[in-house]
Symmetry: C2
Subunit: 252 residues, 2 copies
């Protein structure tokens, strides 16, 4: 049996919890990990508070193959992620010589003053390795099974590209969607029955209000292509037997 | 001293962790709670797995004034939230007579078959009270300090409106944004200095790439209007003294 790597995402930042920033990082990482065959099992979001970050990192890194964090690695006073991760691992945080070099070269190139605040972005916990940042150079870092990335989506996306080759991959989950022009309550019984006969398949039911009224997306997911096809055929048949009823007039 | 209620959000559903659904519920609830003066301190997302839901609900309800969950209360086999919440509270889950009545009336009105699956949506943990659903009738419920809502954004939004009058409110956090046409590294030192003199103010720094190049939003938040104004004036002055340098050529 293939072992499927597992993962958690930790979004760090007051701006998500205050509502000011609408997070897009979770969805991006979720899609990315699905393509790599890594099971994203949990996500958390905490504020820029050291104790909260430490507690979340330690809870998650003990349970999953990988933890991916975003946010809090810039040059300002509210960027406390590196120190919090250092504390979580019980190691000091110091300037990484290679990160300093990367930053100095970059600042010279773009005419930025390499001040103390900017060079804080070269600080990493002892034992960490750098994550390349193709967009704005200031690196992320990996320590143990924890990958620490920027919060700016464009930068984080580039860091995921840098990380990807080093990750163990599993068999990617494949998915099929069958759209039922009707309420999920009509198909609930046959759907549950199909689910019970396919333990390797995950069937989800997601009602929505579309241009032609209420409908339901039935999502079938599996790592076994043949089983997926069989289950999909059964869901399709169950859905087809229901679509004679006319337009659905409500959710569920 | 006024006590500020705290809160956590728990998103329940495989579809968010697989990347298929890009969550919008966290941002909506975050904005809503900010307006009510309730501090959202943490958010989590777990899959449709009973043990994971139970663990998250019990961890969060012990730590915060309120917990708001979304997802998993429909009629299909993957809707296991009510049972998981019942287990978290150690109480049985049964059909609520008023919920059954609401559903039967609604199904009659829209011509839906009131089958066993649909009536599962009337099941709530013992001791729970119903949350009105102005959109699709199937209610959410409250048990203890946990509010259990639908995952469909339109329905969840209506449930927040139904819940809001029953929530304790705090003094709302107000915020001001000062946009610096430059890198956050230039203002990091004075910004940190201002922050250290205003312990009741939360200052965040968020770089972005705008139409006229790189810039930084400096967000100043406080529950004390006068203090907020003072801090804002200082941040504005610090930003103004830096904007002579010309267009920023990079992040941070």
């Amino acid at each position: 049996m293939t072992i499927i790597p597992t993962a958690a995402v930790l979004l760090i930042g007051d701006e998500v919890l205050s509502g000011r920033t609408k997070d897009k990082n979770l969805g991006f990482i979720a899609d990315y990990l699905t393509l790599l065959g890594i099971d994203l099992r949990e996500a958390r979001c905490v504020a820029d508070k050291e104790d909260d970050i430490v507690a979340a990192v330690n809870a998650l890194r003990a349970r999953f193959t990988y933890v991916f964090t975003t946010g809090g690695i810039g040059p300002t006073h509210d960027d406390i992620t590196a120190d919090a991760i250092g504390k979580a691992f019980g190691v000091p945080v110091t300037h990484d010589p290679r990160a300093v070099e990367i930053l100095l070269t970059y600042f010279k190139e773009i005419g930025r003053e390499p001040n103390e605040a900017r060079l804080r972005m070269a600080r990493v916990p002892q034992g960490a390795t750098l994550i390349e940042n193709a967009v704005s150079k200031a690196p992320g870092f990996r320590i143990g099974n924890v990958f620490v990335m920027a919060g700016v989506p464009k930068v984080m996306n580039a860091m995921m590209d840098a990380i990807a080759p080093s990750l163990e991959r599993g068999v990617p989950m494949q998915s099929r969607t069958v759209t039922l022009q009707g309420g999920e309550g009509d198909i609930a019984a046959p759907l549950g029955e199909i689910q019970s006969r396919y333990p390797d398949v995950f069937i989800g039911s997601y009602p929505f209000e579309g241009p032609s009224g209420f409908a339901t997306n039935l999502v079938i997911r599996s790592r076994k292509p043949h089983t997926l096809e069989q289950a999909e055929a059964e869901v399709k048949a169950a859905a087809a037997s229901l679509t004679q009823e006319g337009k659905a007039r409500g959710w569920n």
